[in-house]
């Protein structure tokens, strides 16, 4: 009889679970993804490329990249600041802050979009003063960025808080007693210790920032060639029965997501030793 490790399950169970896992992933993740690409190419590569050359499509891609380029760095900074405060200091209302950080995850993106319309829209609280000052937020880039920042806020913070709590304050205290200033401590001790968690959070944040639909849909106003991001443009094209165009843009979105994942795996693979070294022994 073959010996098994005490924690190892029956081989049949292992096979069954593996098959189920692959089955679910194949059916619900890989097949739809393959469909997106095959639909995009259903009329040939030329048609798909033509769809990408269309000015509205270009503007949607450009807008999406721009929104992500603004929202992701902002949330990286906010996320690090919030996690730093929660992990390294004791203060009143810490628990409340932790709960607040999760808020964007728990409320519907449409509601978060509506909040911004309520505050900054023409009929909203600051609507008239903003109009007098000639500042456009709703149905313009600032509104889209705001909504995206709100929806993607938790990604970095959620990744970092458990990590930083686990790492404790010892190394920071050691750095201080060795004469380092707060900024030096952050740059030389804290940041290197959290950089993998931070990178992971930023990648997830970026994926969601480019893909966000609900909140952005409410604040964007769907002005073609101006305020339509890629996900919104996909919907517009789809509703116009322009399937090749819709699926081509969707493919670009999917590709961006895949590139993100591959990038993450490559980094993890390349720096495996260093990641192991910076984990708690």
């Amino acid at each position: 009889m073959k010996r098994r490790y005490p924690t190892q399950d029956h081989p049949a169970l292992r096979v069954l679970l593996t098959v189920i896992a692959f089955g679910v992933i194949g059916l619900f993740l890989l097949m739809p993804l393959a469909t997106v690409f095959s639909e995009a190419l259903s009329k040939g590569l030329g048609a798909a490329l033509d769809a990408l050359k269309e000015p509205d499509a270009r503007s949607a891609i450009w807008l999406t990249l721009m929104v992500a380029a603004i929202a992701v760095p902002l949330n990286a900074v906010f996320g690090v600041a919030a996690s730093w405060a929660i992990a390294k200091f004791d203060f009143r209302g810490k628990q409340f802050l932790t709960t607040l950080i999760d808020l964007p995850f728990s409320i519907s993106p449409v509601v978060s979009g509506l909040i911004y319309v309520l505050i900054f829209g023409l009929q909203g609280w600051f609507g008239e003063s903003l109009r007098d000052a000639n500042i456009k937020i709703i149905f313009a880039l600032p509104g889209i960025v705001l909504a995206t920042v709100f929806v993607t806020f938790p990604f970095v913070a959620r990744e970092l808080i458990p990590l930083m709590v686990d790492q404790g304050r010892d190394e920071e205290e050691a750095a201080t007693s060795l004469g380092a200033s707060g900024w030096q401590t952050f740059l030389r001790v804290t940041l290197p210790n959290i950089k993998w968690g931070l990178l992971y959070g930023v990648l997830l944040c970026n994926a969601r920032a480019m893909g966000e639909f609900g909140a952005v849909s409410v604040v964007s106003g769907h002005i073609r060639g101006l305020t339509n991001t890629m996900p919104l443009h996909v919907e517009v094209l789809y509703n116009d029965y322009q399937y090749v165009g819709a699926f081509t843009i969707a493919s670009v979105l999917a590709l961006l997501a895949i590139v993100t994942l591959v990038l993450k795996s490559l980094l993890e693979w390349h720096f495996a030793d260093e990641i192991a070294a910076t984990h708690r022994h």
Binding site: D170, E171, E173, A174, A175, T176, S177, L178, G179, A180, S181, Q184, R188, V189, P192, N193, E274, A276, A277, T278, H279, R280, H281
Partner: protein
């Protein structure tokens, strides 16, 4: 240039950690703060290091109002129980940290820093291990790196928070002898926190036995052993701290 602690009191949210603690440590002495957990010894040490602040009381050291000096300017070498080495830096970089973060005009030249690091590595008997990362070292080696790192800033005092607490009995004893020899050589005023009375009495010139935020007795190990002033001290010397935690100590089974 003695260290004077004058009626320090500190309350944490619900319980008092220190209830008016006073003591005077002569320049260059080795003081052990010893007592059961929760007796306030680590809090006192952290106050000396500037990592914690008392609610009232004063500390004077080197003709300075010590509490007014920010932690990063105290040059108090702090050694933590869990080493607190910078995991992403080599041993060399760890030791050089305190020199590298100095403002440019006070920072020694690169060559000089490298020379000092080599010197310190030799001092803590870790020659040739400078390129390793902390997780490639044993516990005893890590704690010696932590000590070298603290010594690199030419500390005005050394503060050791249960530095051997995470090590096994054999390594503890070796490091104890080595630390004492190092202290004789360097002569830096040293405060050492431990819950192990045997360790305290073997190492220190002076012991302060602490209980519930107070110093029960302060004196040389010989004096304290000869005439314990309170029933607590007598019992503590008799049994060690373990009994207070509700676990009877079996001599001989615990590395004693």
């Amino acid at each position: 240039m003695s260290l004077v602690v004058d009626s320090i009191a500190k309350n944490f949210e619900r319980f008092p950690a220190l209830n008016g603690v006073s003591l005077t440590v002569p320049q260059g002495a080795f003081l052990a703060l010893v007592g059961p957990s929760g007796s306030g010894k680590t809090t006192l040490l952290r106050i000396l290091g500037g990592l914690e602040f008392p609610d009232s009381g004063a500390v004077h050291f080197a003709d300075l109002n010590w509490l007014e000096v920010p932690a990063r300017q105290r040059r108090a070498g702090f050694v933590f129980q869990q080493y607190a080495l910078f995991k992403h830096m080599t041993v060399e970089k760890n030791i050089a940290f305190g020199l590298n973060v100095r403002p440019r005009h006070e920072r020694p030249a690169k060559k000089e820093i490298a020379r000092r690091v080599e010197e310190l590595l030799a001092l803590v008997q870790l020659d040739g291990l400078g390129k390793r990362y902390p997780n490639q070292l044993s516990g005893g080696q890590r704690q010696r790196v932590a000590l070298a790192r603290a010594l690199a800033i030419e500390p005005r005092m050394l503060l050791l928070d249960e530095p051997f607490g995470a090590l096994d009995a054999k390594v503890r004893k070796e490091l104890r002898v080595w630390l004492r020899a190092l202290h004789e050589k360097m002569g830096i005023t040293t405060v050492f926190v431990t819950h192990d009375q045997e360790e305290a009495f073997a190492l220190a010139d002076l012991v302060a036995i602490m209980n519930a935020g107070r110093i029960e007795q302060y004196g040389t190990p010989a004096d304290v052993r000869r005439s314990p002033k309170t029933p607590f001290v007598a019992e503590f010397l008799e049994t060690g701290p373990q009994q207070h935690a509700g676990v009877p100590l079996l001599r001989g089974l615990n590395g004693h």
